[in-house]
Subunit: 467 residues, 2 copies
Amino acid sequence: MVSAITERRRKEKDGNKRKRGGGVAEKPPPPPEEELYLCPRGGASSPRTPPPRRSPPRPRGWELRGGAGSMEGGGARNGSTTGAARTGGSGGDAAGGGGGGSAGNGKPLPPCCVKARAAAPESEAKCHATVVSGWFTEPRSRGGKTSKVQYYNNPMWPGEAHSLKVEKILYQGKSPYQEVLVFESSTYGKVLVLDGIVQLTDKDECAYQEMITHLPLCSIPSPKKVLVIGGGDGGVLREICRHGSVESIDICEIDQLVIDVCKDFFPDLSVGFKDPRVRLHVGDAVEFLRNAPEGTYDAIIVDSSDPIGPAQELVEKPFFDTIARALRPGGVLCNQAESMWLHTHLIQDMLSICRETFKGSVHYAWTSVPTYPSGVIGFLLCAKEGPPVNFLTPANPIEKLEGAMEAGRDIRFYNSEMHRAAFVLPTFARRELEAYCTTVEREQQEETTAEPLKMNIMPNSEILTAS
Amino acid sequence: MVSAITERRRKEKDGNKRKRGGGVAEKPPPPPEEELYLCPRGGASSPRTPPPRRSPPRPRGWELRGGAGSMEGGGARNGSTTGAARTGGSGGDAAGGGGGGSAGNGKPLPPCCVKARAAAPESEAKCHATVVSGWFTEPRSRGGKTSKVQYYNNPMWPGEAHSLKVEKILYQGKSPYQEVLVFESSTYGKVLVLDGIVQLTDKDECAYQEMITHLPLCSIPSPKKVLVIGGGDGGVLREICRHGSVESIDICEIDQLVIDVCKDFFPDLSVGFKDPRVRLHVGDAVEFLRNAPEGTYDAIIVDSSDPIGPAQELVEKPFFDTIARALRPGGVLCNQAESMWLHTHLIQDMLSICRETFKGSVHYAWTSVPTYPSGVIGFLLCAKEGPPVNFLTPANPIEKLEGAMEAGRDIRFYNSEMHRAAFVLPTFARRELEAYCTTVEREQQEETTAEPLKMNIMPNSEILTAS
């Protein structure tokens, strides 16, 4: 905390007379903008009531305001920005829809209703049911008597919300599995949103894609067969392709629409699909894994949904069992594993299950991703019993792989030092996760009174801290 | 990115029939809440137009919606939560203020005006000019023809916004320097806001306070004299006090109100003021430094405002010169230095100035703080010419300091491994900062045609990467 304004600065501030000194570049403030609070009168006038859900299905990230209007306008893939499905929006002046702070009937809105004031309707470019006043915003509260207006307060990150300024809606549609939205933001580039939650942005996708891929692949020498669960945007594929040792990459993504939309709007990600080593399987991941030959893969990357709600299955024991079955001895899994700031109980559970399932080393790592809740995302790294894997130090450093740093696109986030640092935990997280693992281990040992579990795992301190 | 929902899950999701499996704890979704969009009719009815400013003065963090109403209700220190100044707010039913989706005159609001819909007015506990619908929200856009409603789009983090759910306003007031707000959030504990920008929250203050303090103090053996610039909340003092070697701590904070409010509402932070080694100086930091005896301090910690706007002075060469003058040879500075995701140009400038000024090692470090923009905050670590300082490895590891881990309050974030990891940069940041430093160094060398600058600095690679 601060309050180190100097007296001179205070006077300058108060009088607004300050002249800037040199030395530090400063951007001028953006030009004044009108406040935009209303949807255009032509569109989005049929508020939708989302069906009750125990929790939203999508993972990390900023969510989507699910208020007035409908997202069902799309549905089919649309290959061009101009042709993308849109909900109404004629632009135009402030009349009718309540623009200009009027209630639409000529009478003024109550002066204390800040939000109801508007100088102009949404511009057509920004018109979408989930974008209000030109901003895409994470949902806030849930339910309500005014049944036409409902927002979610995502139980994965209650009490906080994030917003991104929207320049233009590029695509909206709906698959049998989820709603898909792509927009151009003002400062994070293009944004992919599934079922109301930001999946990635041009600006910070590098952190997620590179870390979830290279943490496992750089931890084992010469990975050859890799499987991706989810990852329909292609970003993980792009990163895997940097590894010349890899001979085949299976990807099992359930939603063809996600693949198609990303090929259209995120060429920097979907470039991953172009590699001849990639074999795409559009379908159910659990079924795919069940049919996969035992002991096939050197590495499996689960680029999955949040571990509550519809993707709950992906963090339960049976799923991890199918993963373990498909891995070769000493093979590795990297699984999206939420934020250490928000979800220690989930991480504890995943750690516990994975230690029991994989019987090799199990670690939690994390990285910074600005557009995910709390600004961080975690990963669970697990090795199957077999040749020991030390995740903490890259056995296969990317800097030494021929062409890896430049393949496709420059590496932007990952490097071997970031790899090591990713396993270093703040004291609170280390304490909570270590304490839990110790308790679970003791309970398990007490249950198996005959002899301790034969788990080829690393000691607790090694599981949760970097060397 | 994801889309790994299984076929079975999809059916469950669609039919909402899913039964949860075991193994992972899940919180039930919060009970439905009414949508709250209007300020209560009794209060906040005089929208305030903030004076034009080139940039807001406060640093990192979430900002405050500066819309309707005024923050000037307080002004004097108020020692109790119940007596804290409040703007209006009678609670009650939905009439008058436009509740229940009515425009206050009995006629319905236009259906497309999502924001204007409300089931109930603000509860009294949440009534504050900057809290709309029970949420404290970072400002969004700036200016506008509707002069009664203005928001800032902070040039330090344009195009994004953050919101926290507000349980209760605890205090609001105004000093000669800034507006002060304290509220209880629903998931981050108490929140301190200065001039509309979040300074700290109970939940994540540990990361900032511990890192800004121990990064410098653990980098030198036996620090004895320490100076804090800013830091009126007391958190940095609390952390310094863990160091038994420290004999005296000067703190120069300009705003007595911040100190008083934090003593009232943040006892976990202000406990730092109770240590007998602390000497408080309420006043101008630049003046204080000018009068400080030369070569006095082992360490100076600048817990300052954002380096644009009124606190610009605190990142300019003359200020750093006064810091360097007050440091003993080999003494260290730790300066708040923004986010590597958002402000590389500022960091480049600060690195350049500090390398020229201090002539010892200069490094950028960063840490995760969820409630600051982009979820991270950085620090500039500088050593004055003299006995060399290697910031990258703690010379004075906190784990070995008697009583340091438990003094006052448990350490929650910092540890020696986090210290080392803090200096590890993502590839993009390393590239941008290294490239810049190399360019600046070459230019400087070309300017001093006679001979290269005699700077006792570490080579570039060492400056920006961890060992």
